[in-house]
Symmetry: C2
Subunit: 346 residues, 2 copies
DNA sequence: GTTTTTTGAGAAAACATTTTCTCAAAACCT
DNA sequence: AGGTTTTGAGAAAATGTTTTCTCAAAAAAC
């Protein structure tokens, strides 16, 4: 008695597999078989069913389809940073590109969670089959939460803390060390680090790489700074307060992000300090803007598109193979020399 | 006979509403009622059920829950631009922030589609209840596709073309016009436009606003350029080829994005053209870097966080109210004067 | 020409939940 | 106390699909 009503109201009532089956004069199971390219269906019937599908403009319901599979077909990209911070993260855009390209070839959809509450909802409600964590910080509560869930997951960028998870990470430590070596190679002896916030893994790694290189080369650490975030204004403010207090300056800075470096450049410019004559600066991440600055920014570069792609590929393997893969991959970083570095004056 | 096996293997077997019901000695329906705060359940029973939920660490399955509702609880953010282009889009990051903050307060999850194929999958498979389209271009096929689907949707940034959809758009036209007026106000008579790719709506709007202002103020259009994309390199290349062909230069450029403006600054610097003494430049979007450049970039600013938030709010209203809302909101843009603009020399 | 194997397709169970229907028990009224 | 209303909760249908089971018909083997 309901059916008559349904017939009346046109197109917009969602059409399911049973409607197609009725139209084609077969059972829903057969329609399903056609949809899934099951070879045990007669070519003739197949054609009839396909015609019915086309005519009704039927599209399978993704969630319903995945329900019996016990999977959802969704992957999540998770971070708890606010979006300005994410977009300022030197490598986020590239990583993203890599992830996107892999997902495009896969049958998975991508969910995005920008806050801890969103992430918890995603995990609690079994909405995703796997998780890519990015931009994790020291005190973020959810890393443990993810580890406790038996949900497949990979982490991008946090190397040390994590024991039993798969991690993809730029070689922060090695990158910063090679920047120090590069600066030493052109004559610098008094070098400083402009580092990001202490609760970021990257900051810890940067500092480790920096100190190790300074020690190995028997150099002097001078005028190091810590910024509150990785953004331009943080670099600007860090240097301003340091300088106005009359503290000692190095002849070169290694800086934890290109954005910070831009803020530092601005501050030095405002104080009449010439780059690279008075001060050399090396950024990190080699964002597209770097080479278009004046002077163009010397920076530390790595293939982070591939890193993102590899992380996504690995996660998909874990989800599809239903097995845990534990590995840690570190991506090499190297200095690209441009206009903000030169030998020290004296 | 299966149950014994289940009991053995601990935690990781997914626990459903029936397990909870069994544990609490009630029917699945009652558990559902507790979950949905249905008042027709005895407080005592409610407590027992809640205890069982807690003990089994039960979490409702999002997709299954939404199946009978005929909804999915997901919203999609859709674009077909590659991620470098998206991230270079002057307002994307801010818009994103607005969307994220609204979604955080709502029960919806966010899906992200970075390519047309991903988007089609999302729409075809009834995976989302609503769509936010962003960075649409003239020849993108999917705008019509979305319009044909009866799926609630809002568009961010494409103003003219769309008739029957809800649109949120910065006032490109008015912003560019006010930049021209600003430049005329400080004495410029020969002004050029550095515009983005022709298939972008923004480019069309920019040009319209530019030409109208030029006409109204009876000025001369000189040396206008078209870039292939909105990125630094595109601005750089556009100016280089123009200049090396010896074509006439204006005394000021209005530029369609801050990223383009940075490329233009680099090019002018390389050719020894002084900004703002020889040439004034106004960017668009006021990205965080703008004020940290040297000289700091004069740019066109708007509250795009609010635009993103309002778009998300409206979409949610459409989805929840099951009604179509058609409106068009234009967000005002205004010039922020900084260091790349000055009166012309002679 | 009968038996065996293969092929093809329907019926029904399963996935996790909500919702409607239904009915028994408790509470209220006179 | 007998009848009516309210309350509470179970049973079953519904959501859209896949999958397993089952069986009939066609093809192959003898």
């Amino acid at each position: 008695m309901k059916k008559q009503v349904k017939k009346k109201t046109s197109a917009k009532i969602p059409v399911g597999i049973v409607h197609v089956a009725k139209k084609a004069g077969v059972s829903p199971a057969t329609v399903s078989r056609v949809l899934n390219d099951n070879p045990t269906v007669d070519p003739k019937i197949r054609e009839i069913v396909k015609a019915a599908i086309a005519e009704l403009n039927y599209r399978p319901h993704f969630a319903a389809r995945n329900l019996p599979k016990g999977q959802t077909g969704n992957l999540a990209l998770v971070t708890a940073r606010s979006s300005p911070v994410i977009f300022a993260n030197p490598f986020f855009s590239k990583v993203f590109e890599g992830i996107g390209s892999v997902l495009d070839e896969s049958p998975f959809n991508l969910m995005l969670s920008l806050t801890p509450s969103q992430m918890r909802r995603l995990m609690d409600s079994r909405t995703v089959d796997g998780i890519i964590l990015i931009a994790v910080r020291e005190n973020d509560p959810y890393l443990e939460e993810v580890e406790e869930m038996e949900l497949p997951s990979v982490v991008i960028g946090a190397y040390r803390r994590i024991s039993q998870m798969t991690v993809f990470c730029p070689d922060y430590e090695g990158g910063v060390a090679s920047a120090v070596k590069f600066l030493a190679g052109i004559g610098h002896r008094r070098i400083g680090l402009l580092d990001g916030p202490p609760d970021s893994y990257k900051s810890g790694e940067d500092r480790r790489g920096f100190e190790e290189a300074i020690r190995q080369l028997d150099l002097e650490e001078v005028g190091s700074l810590t910024a509150e975030e990785f953004l331009e204004r943080d670099g600007f403010l860090a240097f301003c307060s340091h300088f106005s207090e009359g503290k000692p300056l190095p002849t070169a800075y290694v800086v934890s992000s290109d954005h910070l470096a831009i803020g530092l450049l601005k501050a030095t410019g405002d104080f009449g300090i010439k780059v690279p004559e008075d001060l050399s600066i090396v950024g990190f991440g080699d964002i597209p803007i770097a080479e278009h600055l004046q002077p163009p920014l010397t920076s530390i570069h790595g293939d982070l598109v591939e890193m993102g792609a590899e992380a996504a590929r690995t996660l998909i393997q874990m989800v599809e193979g239903r097995k845990k893969i534990i590995k840690r991959v570190v991506y090499p970083m190297q200095v690209v020399e441009r206009g903000t570095t030169a030998p020290p004056k004296a």
